[in-house]
C-alpha cells in the first residue's frame, strides 16, 4: 500500500485573485515580507499495488485525466 500526496496549483502564468486577496490580508496582519501567495489543492490517496512504479503510473494518470486541468493547472506528487 502506497500513499500519493498530490499538489495541484494554478499555472504560474495565471493570475490567482484568491492568492492575492489572502496575501493582502496577511500583509494587513503585519507580514509584509510575504509575496507571491498562490492557492492550490492538496489531495492525498492510498493506492493498493505492489510496487512504487505501479503507484506512480496510477497517480500520474489520475492527475492528468481528472485531478488537474492542463489548461490552467500544474501538478506534482510524491509516493510514500
Amino acid at each position: 500500500m502506497f500513499t500519493a500526496k498530490i499538489k495541484v496549483t494554478l499555472r504560474k502564468t495565471i493570475l490567482d485573485p484568491q492568492g492575492k486577496t489572502v496575501e493582502h490580508s496577511l500583509k494587513s496582519l503585519g507580514y509584509d515580507k510575504i509575496s507571491n501567495t498562490r492557492i492550490g489543492k492538496y489531495i492525498e490517496m492510498k493506492i493498493d499495488v505492489n510496487s512504487k512504479e505501479e503507484a506512480t503510473v496510477i497517480a500520474e494518470e489520475s492527475c492528468r485525466r481528472l485531478l488537474s486541468n492542463p489548461v490552467m493547472e500544474d501538478y506534482e506528487f510524491e509516493i510514500t
Binding site: 495565471i14 485573485p17 486577496t21 481528472l66 485531478l67 486541468n69 489548461v71 490552467m72
Partner: protein
C-alpha cells in the same frame, strides 16, 4: 426532420427545467430530459447541457460530469456533428470534455455575479446566431462564480481567425480574455456560453433576446 431536444440532467443541475420549459412550452419542440446515468441520447438531435452545479462543482466545475455515462454518448454525438449547447455549467463541462478549447476560471473579483449583461453578437453566420444582426447588442442574464474564460494566446488567435467567437461582453463582468462570453467549435456544431438564453425567453419577464437564439437552433432542424 424536426427538433428533438434532450436536456441533460446531472445531480446538481438547476437550469434544466428552465431550458426544458422554453423548448417544450414556448418553442413547442419535442423535448425530453436525459438523466446522467443513461448511456445513450436516443433519438435526440439537439443536446442541451444546462446550468447549475453538477456534482457540486467538486474538484473543478464540470470535471466530474465529463466522465458521466451520458457524456460519453454526447461526445460521440458532438464529434459526429450533432448540435450541442452548453450554458453556464454546460459550457464548463464542454471545456472539461475537450469539446471546446480553453477553460473557465474564478471571476476576477472572486464574486458570484447574477445580473443581466449586454452582449455583442460577434458573428451571426452560425446556426446559433442567425436570428441576430451582426454586432447587434443583446441582453442576457449571467449567474456564475467561474465564468472567466481563459485560453492561451495561440488558442485565442485561432478562435478569432476562425470566427469561433459568437458573443462578447460589452462591459466585461468577470475578467474573460478578449471579453469572450460564448464560442463555437471549429466545426460549428457546438456552442458554449456563460450567459443564460433560457432566462431571457418569456415576454412576461421583459426580455426575449434569449429565445431568438434557442428558436434559431430548433428551426435549423426543420
Amino acid at each position: 426532420m424536426s427538433a428533438k431536444v434532450g436536456v441533460v440532467v446531472f445531480p446538481g443541475s438547476n437550469c434544466d427545467h428552465d431550458a426544458y420549459f422554453v423548448f417544450k412550452e414556448l418553442i413547442k419542440a419535442d423535448t425530453k430530459f436525459l438523466w446522467h446515468k443513461e448511456g445513450s441520447i436516443g433519438d435526440r438531435n439537439i443536446i442541451i447541457l444546462p446550468g447549475g452545479f453538477s456534482y457540486g462543482d467538486y474538484l473543478r466545475c464540470g470535471a466530474i460530469s465529463r466522465f458521466s455515462n451520458i457524456m460519453q454518448d454526447v461526445v460521440r454525438f458532438a464529434n459526429n456533428g450533432g448540435i450541442v449547447i452548453g450554458i453556464c455549467n454546460g459550457f464548463q463541462i464542454l471545456c472539461e470534455s475537450g469539446l471546446l478549447p480553453g477553460t473557465l476560471l474564478r471571476n476576477i473579483n472572486l464574486k458570484f455575479i447574477c445580473k443581466t449583461v449586454s452582449l455583442k453578437v460577434e458573428n451571426n453566420k452560425s446556426i446559433f446566431t442567425g436570428n441576430f444582426g451582426i454586432k447587434e447588442d443583446i441582453n442576457i442574464p449571467i449567474a456564475h462564480g467561474e465564468g472567466n474564460y481563459f485560453c492561451d494566446d495561440d488558442t485565442l488567435t485561432d478562435l478569432i481567425s476562425n470566427n469561433q467567437i459568437l458573443f462578447r461582453y460589452n462591459d466585461n463582468p468577470n475578467g474573460s480574455i478578449y471579453d469572450i462570453a460564448g464560442i463555437q467549435n471549429i466545426k460549428r456544431n457546438i456552442l458554449g456560453m456563460m450567459p443564460h438564453p433560457e432566462r431571457a425567453s418569456y415576454e412576461e419577464l421583459g426580455n426575449t433576446d434569449g429565445i431568438r437564439l434557442l428558436n434559431g437552433v430548433a428551426e435549423s432542424m426543420n
